[in-house]
């Protein structure tokens, strides 16, 4: 009778392409998770505050505008600052292969680029959340 896995799906920054985020959101729902869908134009502060209030297990972000190297680590660091570093952070979108190692070492647990089957993302989240 445990509650479902809770994932915040957010689009940080000014990128307005949300189809991918919605596809992932739906897939997570179909896998039995509660998806807190926050919509577009979220600041890192808003995403972190949301994750904390919702007691999220995971934050999943999507960026297609190229701002991932700045925004993803910003969210990771803010979570740490607020004592919420146990929340799993994953990301997707238009992210060049070369940028992935940097993001991983900055604290993003997994990057899922276009073409990744949603089952891979789902299994990763299930296997890596902290509870």
């Amino acid at each position: 009778m445990d509650r479902p896995i809770r994932v915040v799906v957010a689009k940080p920054g000014l990128d307005g392409h949300d189809r991918g985020a919605k596809v992932v959101a739906r897939a997570l729902r179909d896998a039995g998770m509660e998806v807190i869908y926050t919509g577009l134009r979220q600041t890192p502060e808003q995403i972190v505050d949301t994750a904390i209030q919702e007691d999220a297990d995971c934050v999943a972000m999507s960026i297609l505008s190229g701002a991932h190297n700045h925004l993803f680590p910003k969210v990771v660091n803010l979570l740490k600052e607020k004592g919420a570093e146990d929340i799993l952070v994953v990301g997707g979108g238009v992210i060049p292969e070369d940028d992935i190692p940097g993001l991983i070492s900055a604290g993003v647990a997994g990057i899922f680029t276009p073409g990744t089957p949603t089952s891979v993302t789902i299994d990763f989240i299930k296997a890596n959340i902290k509870r």
Partner: protein, 317 residues
């Protein structure tokens, strides 16, 4: 993390964590609630319900912002439907309340209806209790507005605002039976649309049939999107609060609500105990097999379960 200390210090993370723990019925959470229960009872609980697409989240967002202007602390519990097949949910009410995310005086918690074992009751109730202890002056519960949750909301809220929208036409006729009894205030949203006056008039006409001598639910036309009529709506909510207090029906209403709450918690405790009998659902599975083989009938099976439960409670108290 010392959850109780965090909660009393108004740490949002502690409150959020406690809400999750209460949802799970964790012993630690129950202990904290027991210790802090005398701190509850101060928050005003407002239910926002209505058909999908009526603009409930937007109305909630505007009302919260207005209350924030006068320095009130506000909590929001936003409920969206859980898929009965997958158990998952898309909780999208926050999308309409983005500005409130970083406001320190606001706490928003989204959750799914979570189906069979309690639905709106258990999880939402836990969240409201925690937010009350946390010190919120107002707590909004925003529900799905179809089916059971519409009725459930009455068991939670002091004031229920029914958000309607023009253009439903004959659909109003179809749903009137339930909603006329539930709403304390009717807000016709999106009133820049055609038919908003007529919708308000239809609601007034239906209210004529259910004449409560003491209190007649007001009907208001608003456009939440550009804040039109929101201040008036808040005033109506305040008026209803005054009416509840002056008429003395408040105490009766709250006591009735607590009765339901006690029963829900009791039912939940029974189910938890049953599910943990002799290592999970094995006993139930065995009984089902026996009934399948016609070695037992379902009533005798339930009797056996009741015996096991009683024995279990005695042994483990």
């Amino acid at each position: 993390m010392d959850i109780k200390a965090g909660l009393l210090k108004k740490d949002k993370r502690a409150a959020a964590r406690l809400i999750s723990m209460v949802e799970n019925g964790e012993t630690e959470a129950v202990r904290i609630i027991k210790e802090c229960y005398s701190m509850t009872g101060h928050a005003r609980i407002i239910g926002i319900t209505g058909p999908p697409g009526a603009g409930k989240s937007t109305v909630t967002d505007k009302l919260v912002k207005l209350l924030r202007k006068s320095g009130k602390q506000v909590g929001v519990v936003a409920v969206d439907p859980t898929s009965p097949f997958t158990g998952g949910a898309i909780l999208g009410d926050r999308v309409r309340m983005t500005d409130l995310s970083c406001d320190p005086g606001v706490f928003i918690r989204s959750m799914g209806t979570r189906g069979a074992l309690g639905g709106l009751s258990k999880a939402a109730n836990g969240a409201v209790m925690v937010l009350d202890i946390f010190g919120m002056d107002y707590i909004f519960i925003e529900t799905v507005g179809v089916g059971q949750s519409e009725v459930d909301i009455v068991k939670f809220a002091d004031t229920v605002v029914m958000v309607m929208v023009p253009g439903l036409g004959d659909d109003i006729q179809a749903i009137k039976a339930g909603i006329m009894e539930i709403g304390d205030i009717f807000a016709v949203n999106k009133s820049d649309r055609d038919g908003s006056e007529r919708t308000a008039a239809e609601i007034e006409a239906m209210l004529d049939f259910n004449r409560n001598e003491e209190y007649r639910p007001p009907v208001l036309n608003i456009i939440a999107r550009d804040n039109t009529g929101v201040a008036e709506l808040l005033e109506l909510i305040e008026n209803h609060w005054k009416y509840l207090n002056e008429s003395g029906s408040f105490r009766q209403k709250k006591t009735k609500r607590l009765r339901t709450e006690i029963m829900n918690i009791f039912r939940d405790m029974v189910m938890r105990t049953v599910y943990s009998l002799g290592g999970g659902t094995n006993i139930i599975d065995e009984l089902a097999e026996k009934v399948m083989e016609r070695q037992l009938d379902p009533y005798s099976a339930a009797d056996i379960l009741l015996d096991e439960f009683t024995k279990n409670r005695k042994d483990n108290y």
